[in-house]
Structure formats: C-alpha cells, structure tokens
C-alpha cells in the first residue's frame, strides 16, 4: 500500500516541552520555520541538519532555553535582545572559516527587529551575510508584558498604548520592516503568516536556499497579548490576510517594482495587469479580524477609529503598488 508522504518533514528541531503559552502562534511559526529550513538544507546540501540558529531575547527565547533544559535540537545561541543579526554574522563568518556547509538562521521578535535590533539587522543585510533573518511578528513586546513596538498596529491596546479619554490605543501606523529590508536589495524578502502555513514553509525554504541574506516577516498570533481565544490563532491570522490587514508578498533582489503580491482569498477580487496584482477588492471587512481580539475591543465604541485604520491599510497597500477597497460591515 502506498504510504502518503507527510507534507513536511517529521523531524523536529523545536521540540515539545518548551514553555510557550497554550495557543502561541509564534511557537508554531518557529516549529514550521525550522522544519522548512531542514528540508531546504537537505535539498541543497544533502544534510538536513546543516544549520545553526542565533536568536534574540524575547518570548521565544525564554520559553525554549531555560537552563538546564532546552527545546532546541539544532545548534542554538542566544546573545542579547538587539543583536541576533550581528551574532548570526559572527556565526556565519566562523562557519565559513571552519569550512562548514549550511546556513544560519537568525530569529528575532518585532521588538528585537523593528526597534532595538534595526541597526544590527541593516548591517547584517548590507554586509551580505549568508543568513536568513526570521522576524516573528506578534506585534508587541510580549516577553516584558505586552508593550507597544513600532510594529504594533494602529489602534491596538498594549500596556504602553492604553486606550483612554485622550488615547485611541497605539496611535502610529505599523512599521513594515520587510520593506525596509527590501531596500537593502537583498536576494529575498517575504512576508508570511501562520494563517497560511504552506506558503510560510515554501517561503522559508526559498529563503534558506538563496545565496546571501534573506528576510522573512511572519505574522504570528499571541493569545496572551492579543487577548484572543487560544484555539483561534490560525483563524485570526487567516482573517488578517483575507481582510487586507496582512499582505502576503515576495520581493526578490530588492526589486520593489516587481513585488510579487499574493491573492488573499476570502472572496477578494484581484485585478491583474500583465500578471501583476494592481488592485484588490476585499470582501470581508477588517472588523471580522478585529472583533476576535480583545486588544481592539475599545475600537468598536469609536468606529471612526476603524475608518482611520482602513485608510492606513490602503496607504500601506498603495506603497506596494496596489489599490485596495476595504468594505465596511453591513449595517
């Protein structure tokens, strides 16, 4: 009898027993990312284990490496909060000198990437290290107890962007690190989501296989920080894609003019010109995404704030060359 091949390797590098919260979408992202990496290394070098990881301080670090235990079945090093990219640069240089074949995976949260680690990331990309930088974007500093980062979306509650009489919650639009990374004209940049795991795995494999630096920004849910139901992580992430909140794209060789935008699903109508996505008419209102998360609850009392959010999302899409229509919920 033919045995069906599993869709992804059964090898585990991020082992069970880590201490992430139940329902943590970032833990899922790391597990998938390392599996994808392993497959890529197997295909490229014939050795599924030909990689090492350098990771920034943050939730995913503290839950996986509590002495004397470890959740890691791959060589792994943590140095500090802001320097995963720099530490990875050093590891990569050492591997080169040791004649070791393989690729280095750097991992950082949105804080360790978009804020304090931005400089080290830019340096690593610009110096062309053979490193894939994975930014797991749970849209706030979760490890220190849910403070805003520059990757926190407009309107979100965090402990340092609390809604109040004079505050809507986070009052700045989200910073899109993938576009900043692309400006370095590196071989591969992509956004991904745990709402589309197959796509995420495909992109991680692609990133792992290019020669030179690559950057992947994956949105992953955090039930603790988003105040969302534990079991709805993937559903929420998928809604982010289907409502237009989270764009999925790839940029190769820094060619921002040739950015590859993916159709979002969820009934959205995609208009192409010469194979290129130029407009998307979304069918699901962003409210469907927002309403599943306690961090946006206060916005429903101020619908004009949600309209501001819609305008910001449109502006973000316009930056990547796409005109979008975002519906309002039916009254």
């Amino acid at each position: 009898m033919a045995v069906r091949k599993p869709p992804i390797t059964t090898r585990e590098y991020w082992a069970p027993g880590h201490a992430a919260c139940a329902g943590c979408g970032c833990a899922t992202a790391l597990r998938l990312a390392t599996k994808a990496f392993s497959e890529a290394m197997e295909e490229k070098y014939g050795d599924p284990n030909a990689f090492a990881i350098a990771q920034a301080t943050g939730c995913m670090e503290v839950v996986s490496a509590v002495f004397p235990y470890t959740a890691w079945k791959a060589p792994w090093v943590h140095v500090a909060f802001e320097n995963a990219a720099a530490a990875a640069s050093g590891v990569e240089a050492a591997w080169k000198k040791l004649g070791r074949k393989g690729k280095i995976l750097a991992i950082g949260g949105d804080g360790g990437t978009a804020d304090i680690g931005m400089q080290a990331l830019s340096g690593m990309l610009e110096r062309w290290h053979n490193v894939v930088y994975l930014m797991y974007d749970n849209e706030a500093y979760m490890n220190t107890g849910i403070q805003r980062s520059s990757s926190t979306p407009y309107g979100a509650w965090t402990t340092t962007s609390p809604p109040g009489k004079y505050s809507i919650g986070e009052d700045k639009p989200k910073k899109w690190v993938a576009l900043i990374a692309a400006a370095h004209q590196v071989p591969y940049v992509a956004t991904a989501s745990i709402g589309n795991p197959f796509d995420f795995v495909k992109k991680m494999k692609k990133a792992a296989k290019v020669d030179g630096p690559a950057f992947v920004q994956v949105q992953c849910t955090c039930p603790t920080g988003w105040k969302s139901p534990l079991e709805k992580g993937v559903e929420i992430a998928r809604l982010a894609i289907e409502t237009g909140v989270w764009p999925l794209f790839e940029i190769e060789n820094g060619d921002i003019w040739n950015i590859k935008i993916q159709a979002p699903g969820g009934g959205a109508k995609v208009k192409r010109e010469g194979g290129r996505v130029v407009a998307i008419e979304f069918k699901k209102p962003i409210e469907e995404y927002l309403k599943l998360q306690g961090r946006f609850k206060h916005l429903f009392k101020q619908p004009e704030a949600i309209d501001v959010m819609r305008e910001q999302i449109k502006a973000m899409w316009r930056t990547i060359g796409v005109e979008v229509t975002l519906p309002k919920p039916e009254e």
């Binding site: 490496a65 090093v77 990569e92 050492a94």
Partner: protein, 394 residues
C-alpha cells in the same frame, strides 16, 4: 628569526592579531584605535592573514559578532576604545558569562562628556566588573606581547574568559618604538590551534548556548566566572614563564622597580610606569628612598603580589588615570581590599592625575611626592588627591 620594526602600538596590536591567527575579526573604527582594523584589513587584503574580517556597523555588533563566532568555536579578535568599549558593555558581561575567550585590544581613552580623545584608563576600568581579564601595556612591545599572552590565558581550559589589553591613547597608540615581532612558528607553538573541547554550534552535536537561568542556577554561573578569574592567577604566571622561555621577555603581574629599602612606592599602570621609573631614578640620585611598581595585570587583581609589595614600603602612592566616584581611583579600592585585614600595612595615598590626556610631568609627581612624604612623616593628608588640577578655571 624575530624581526625588529619601528611601529606604533596600534600596529603592534594588529601584528599580534596576525600572529595569533584569529579566524574571525569584527571591528569598528574609533580614535585612537582606528589603525588596528585598518592594518588588519591590509593583512587580510594581502593574504597575510587568513581570516574573515566583518566590517560591522558599530562596536555593539563587533562584539556581538565576536560572541557569535566564538560560540561557533573559533578564535576571534577586535579592537576599540572609549565610547566603543562602552557601547560593548552589555555584551562584555555576556562574553564572560558564556565563557568565550575573545581578545580585545583597547587604546585607553577617556569617556565623554566632554568629548576627549586622549588618554586615561576610564574606559577599561569601567569594565572591571564584567569578568574580563585585564592587562595594561607600558610600551608597544608589551602591547604586542600581552595580546599573545592574553590569548594563551583566555583559552586555557581552567580559565575560558575573555581578555582585554589596554595601551594608552596617543602616548602609545600613535607613537613609534622599535618592536620585536616574534617568529610565527614560535607563536604557533606558544598558542597552538584553538580547539574548543566542547561542541560549539556543530550540527553533529547540537548544544544550546546563552540560556536563561532561574535563581536556582544564576548564582552558580556567576560563581564559575569568579572561579575562572581566580584560576587565571596561576595560569597567568605559567603563561608569563612560558613566554619568557620562548621569547626572552619577562612579565610579572606587578613589576617592581628599585623597591628594595624604599619608603615610598609609587604604583601605576600603562605608559605612566615609564615616566615614574625615570622619576624614581631622579629621586634616588638625591638620596630619596622611593621605588615604583607597575600593574601589568589588573583583573584578576593580584592580591598576593600587592600584599608582598606592601611589606616593602611605609607609603604606597597610587597614581591613577581614572575616577571611581566617592572612592577616589579604582586601584585605591582594590589595594584597600587587598590590605584591609593585614596586621601591618603601609599608608595608602591616592592620586588622580592625567585625565583626558593631560601630561603627567615630574612637577606633578613632585606634588604627589610632597603629600606622600607628609604621610610618611605621620602628618595627616587627604586620602584622595587630584594632581595638576587647574583650580583657576574651576
């Protein structure tokens, strides 16, 4: 055959790095150390040094890359000074805590504000609690030699700690002196290939490095750094002895000069030791019983050697180019610690001088001597004295 070349301490440091054959170097320019990465770039460009040179975007990334590379199991090197070292501060603790034998060459420079590029020791002194070993060079030859010795000690299995070697900004970094460049074969014999015993970021034997430790384990981790520092005392002596045998130059944690029958001993570090030795000669001609002592090793603090030194004098006059607020200088605190429980001890008088590159002249030393002599005669003196202070502009 060793060759002699006239060079600046920065070049001597680059030569030391070349001889030690690090596999990864990551560095960022800062006055007065800029020439170190420049010279290393030349060595790499000419194929004289087979290393990856990561031209990082900051000192923070320089040391982070060194930590990454060292965690991957290779010998690493970097150079910096002042604000650059301060920017590394956070990662210096991490390098020591992770027991990575990285070596840094530091052109000792003052810290801002006000911005000042000249010499004092505040940069390295401010890092004395990171767990790093600290050596101070008196001249360019010592800058080269101590870097080699630093590797030897740092990579010893009983130590496994990072080390910094300081040499004074401009006084040494930019001043040429004849320096003997040892034979590569001898250096290779002295240092050997760096082959870490444990698996370092090896996919065949994956390990986790840089973990989180709960209160149940953190203290023990810190204790092992303490223990490694203690172990380093003996390892340093052994390295000095082996170095002398191989290269003919003698090093001691504390080098004494004309201390026999001295009533006052001036204690200092770095290039100032040269000035002080001359000053001692000058005083001895006048029949004044003084001696000098130079601290070559500052961390681990050579407690036993300080106690032995203290037995020889009635007054220890510490000459320091750094400030530890409320205390005086850092040496004052360290010497007090070494001597506090001794039944007989000399008076210790502290002098802060030469900050931010101010020249230390015989006139300044006369000022210090006068105070030390008062102390010798049993008169009351201030414990901490700022020498050469321009009171008229205060």
């Amino acid at each position: 055959m060793p060759i002699r070349k006239v060079m600046k301490a920065n070049e001597a440091a680059a030569w030391a790095a070349k001889l030690a054959k690090p596999k990864v170097i990551a560095a960022f320019p800062i006055t007065p150390s800029t020439l170190v990465p420049e010279k290393i770039s030349e060595f790499v460009a000419d194929g004289e040094l087979d290393a990856e040179f990561i031209k990082v975007e900051s000192e923070h990334s320089a040391i982070s890359a060194c930590v990454g590379a060292s965690a991957a199991g290779v010998r690493t090197f970097t150079a910096t000074a002042s604000q650059g070292l301060a920017l590394m501060h956070e990662i210096l603790f991490i390098a020591a805590g992770m027991r990575l034998p990285i070596v840094i060459a530091v052109g000792n420079r003052s810290l801002s504000a006000p911005i000042n590029i000249w010499n004092d020791w505040q940069d390295t002194i401010s890092e004395r609690d990171t767990g790093w070993l600290q050596f101070y060079a008196e001249n360019n030859q010592e800058a080269l030699d101590l870097i080699l010795i630093a590797y030897k000690v740092a990579e010893n299995e009983k130590v496994l700690l990072p080390a910094m070697v300081g040499f004074d900004a401009f006084i040494l970094t930019h001043t040429v002196e004849p320096v003997e460049i040892p034979d590569q074969e001898l250096v290779d014999e002295f240092l050997g290939e760096y082959e870490p015993k444990y698996a370092y970021l090896d996919p065949a034997r994956p390990i986790t490095q840089g973990t989180l430790a709960f209160p149940a384990h953190y203290m023990e981790a810190r204790y092992t750094v303490w223990e490694a520092n203690e172990n380093a005392r003996k390892v340093i002596d052994e390295a000095f002895a082996e170095f002398e045998k191989k290269f003919g130059r003698k090093y001691q944690k504390i080098e004494e000069y004309r201390t026999e029958d001295a009533e006052i001993i001036f204690v200092t570090m770095g290039s100032l030791a040269g000035t002080v030795k001359e000053y001692v000669d000058h005083l001895r001609e006048q029949g004044i019983k003084v001696g000098a002592a130079k601290m070559t090793v500052y961390r681990p603090f050579p407690i036993e050697e300080v106690r032995a030194l203290a037995k020889k004098a009635k007054v220890l006059a510490l000459l320091e180019k750094n400030v530890t607020f409320s205390v005086g200088g850092a040496l004052f605190q360290d010497f007090s610690r070494a001597l506090i429980n001794e039944s007989e001890k000399p008076k210790i008088v502290d002098f802060i001088l030469g900050l931010g590159g101010r020249d230390v002249t015989f006139k300044d030393l006369d000022e210090a001597l006068a105070i030390a002599q008062k102390a010798l005669n049993g008169e009351a003196v201030d414990e901490v004295n700022w020498i050469g202070l321009r009171k008229e502009i205060l």
